[in-house]
């Protein structure tokens, strides 16, 4: 093992590289992926870095295999990650569901690009936000984080690994092509806070593999540890044995959802920008929020009290905070690089209390501050 895996210090790196370094700092030692733009810098950096820190990098035959290998790697005892973009994200949905059902901690990065289909391989998009929420079949809850800078890409990658272990879930890092490719100052600390894997506290003879603790999360016994666990994507009972009854199914699916929903205050992060006195609130995330900072400043110069709720966690969505916002402001502007995905969640939360203007673009470029400002002016009644 390398004496120092974490590159502590101040760096000039892009978001993709910051994600790779965040993973290594968080203890990720297994990475499986398939080449895709604009994710390449993550895989290339980890191909270069992981072998030097005692980790495994493998380029699989497709994204289906990459996600399957990550789930297998996690059960082999490793902190495991994959990274992709839209087309690969679609292929990963199958084994994302396996990770949810088998309560496998892992991290899946999506560097979003223009879509549907092959779309715009080299240009930005934010059109996979609803796929992140509902892309795999069945009903489930998911954690999805959205960085708006390379520094935040590093920080949220670390946090994604922590949340994955804390709740025994796959965590999505939903970044985008521009954050992935833009270079900024990234400060890497000596040590990062990271939740350990939740281990059994009883001997194998007393261990019930899927019996949850008080917080609804069961401890995890990996392969080779003597616990001899059966793990299945079928509906199962607390022993891990298949149980095809409707009761077992309802109980399991509810627990898998509740273990996240009950702790959403520990999961759902956001940044508030000038909201104290705001009359107009922008709700945005990722690179779109970066543009909105400038628009808010210009709006304030023009006498419009604008602020922003920047989503750091997209899922679970901050329902209560957005609902409260509707009681405070006169209008809401949602800025995103799709034709209205998270805006539906905002609409759901504000229940028509205040007008909502969507500043949407299907992707291929980021918004201009002028476009966002126009949205602010429109909802403020200036236009």
């Amino acid at each position: 093992m390398s004496p120092k895996a974490t590159l502590a210090g101040i760096h000039f790196m892009n978001g993709d590289e910051a994600i790779a370094e965040g993973a290594i700092a968080a203890g990720c030692r297994f990475f499986a992926a398939y080449p895709i733009t604009p994710q390449s810098e993550i895989a290339e950096r980890l191909a270069w870095r992981l072998p030097r820190v005692g980790g495994t990098f493998i380029q699989m035959e497709d994204e289906i295999a990459a996600m399957a290998a990550v789930v297998g790697g996690a059960w082999g005892g490793a902190k495991a990650m994959t990274a992709t973009s839209g087309p690969g994200f679609s292929l990963m949905m199958e084994n994302l569901g396996l990770a949810i059902m088998t309560e496998t901690p892992c991290v899946l990065v999506n560097v979003q690009r223009g879509a549907p289909s092959t779309g715009l391989p080299t240009a930005v998009g934010q059109g996979d936000m609803m796929q992140a929420r509902w892309g795999s079949h069945g009903h489930y809850e998911i954690i999805a984080l959205v960085p708006a800078s390379p520094q935040e890409a590093f920080d949220l990658t670390v946090r994604a690994f922590s949340l994955a272990e804390r709740f025994r879930v796959p965590v999505l890092l939903m970044t985008d092509e521009v954050v992935g490719h833009m270079y900024e100052r990234v400060e890497i600390p000596d040590e990062v806070p990271i939740a350990p894997r939740r281990r059994p506290t009883v001997p194998p003879s007393e261990f019930v593999p899927f019996a949850p603790g008080p917080d609804l999360v069961p401890p995890m016994a990996c392969a080779g540890e003597g616990y001899r666990v059966h793990v299945t994507g079928l509906t199962h009972d607390e022993r891990g044995y298949p149980d095809m009854s409707d009761g077992a199914h309802d109980r399991l699916v509810r627990r898998l959802c509740d273990k996240i929903l009950r702790y959403r205050n520990e999961i759902t992060f956001y940044e508030e920008v000038g909201l104290d006195d705001a009359e107009i609130a922008v709700v945005s995330y990722g690179i779109s929020a970066r543009v909105a900072y400038g628009a808010i400043a210009r709006a304030r110069e023009a006498g419009i009290k604008a602020g922003m709720l920047r989503l750091i966690t997209a899922w679970p969505f901050p329902d209560e905070r957005v609902r409260a916002l509707a009681d405070q402001v006169k209008g809401i502007v949602v800025v995103e690089l799709n034709l209205g995905q998270m805006s539906r969640e905002v609409e759901r939360a504000i229940q028509g209390k205040v007008p909502l203007v969507g500043v949407f673009h299907a992707g291929g470029r980021i918004h201009t501050p002028e476009e966002v400002l126009a949205g602010i002016e429109e909802v403020a009644g200036c236009r």
């Binding site: 072998p51 005692g54 035959e61 399957a68 990550v70 297998g72 996690a74 990996c222 299945t232 994507g233």
Partner: protein
Amino acid sequence: MQVKTKPAPEIVPGARHPMEKYLRTDRLPHIWCSGCGLGTVLGNFLYAVDELGWDPDKVAVVSGIGCTGRIAGYLKLDTYHTTHGRAIAFATGLKLANPNLHVAVISGDGDLFAIGGNHLIHAARRNIDLTVVCVNNFNYGMTGGQVGPTTPLEGRTTTTPFGNFEHPFNLVHLAASAGASYVARWTTLDGRRLQKGLVEAMAHNGFTFVEVISPCPTNYGRRNRLGEGLDELRYYAEHAVIRHGADPREAEIVPGKRFLVGKFIEVDKPTYHEMYAAKVAEMTGGKT
């Protein structure tokens, strides 16, 4: 076809399966049909594990979906019942994350060679240290008997009601071509030979492949006038020809004709893990 009526075998009170220590007995009886070959494969696999003398805590079994996919759930080992076709990709991650594990993949012909075919050829190419046991029953049994990648020409299935007109795979040839370092084929009639083959495959360093021809009387056998499970075994006895070292291209299975069983390939070559470790040592001057 003769239909024979026999008394049901007696259950001996208090009798135990000799390999019970490796079984989740609280999950028995199993779901497989009478006359199916999967119980034989399960038994032989456990005899092989026992013969190898491995610490059972270090043996992991991964399966996909289907009748064969259910084998994992009956084994008192670390067992993973994954998604359809993805067992080998999952096992690749499991093995690379913990190289001390002995990892076997046991799954069916449809799982491993149709939906999972890409993963199989790439794991073989990389020579990942896995043993893949493919139980070939010539159709998709779990879903009711549809055509599969191994269904012979003219085979009757629920989705080839007029007879199969797709060319089937020769699994031995395919695995060997993709780079498997050990390739054998046996039928569920060849209990001892199958056990020996499984021992050899699991002890062999690298990607090893064992095809097991198995009866599926409920679906494939019934529709193709092969009789009950025992009748299909009798067919194997009359048609299987043991020839070690045979050319894999000659291992085609054509109904009514003799087919080859035995050990086709056994070569030593470095595994993915060994190549990776060597590259790391080369890069770091052995200072990792």
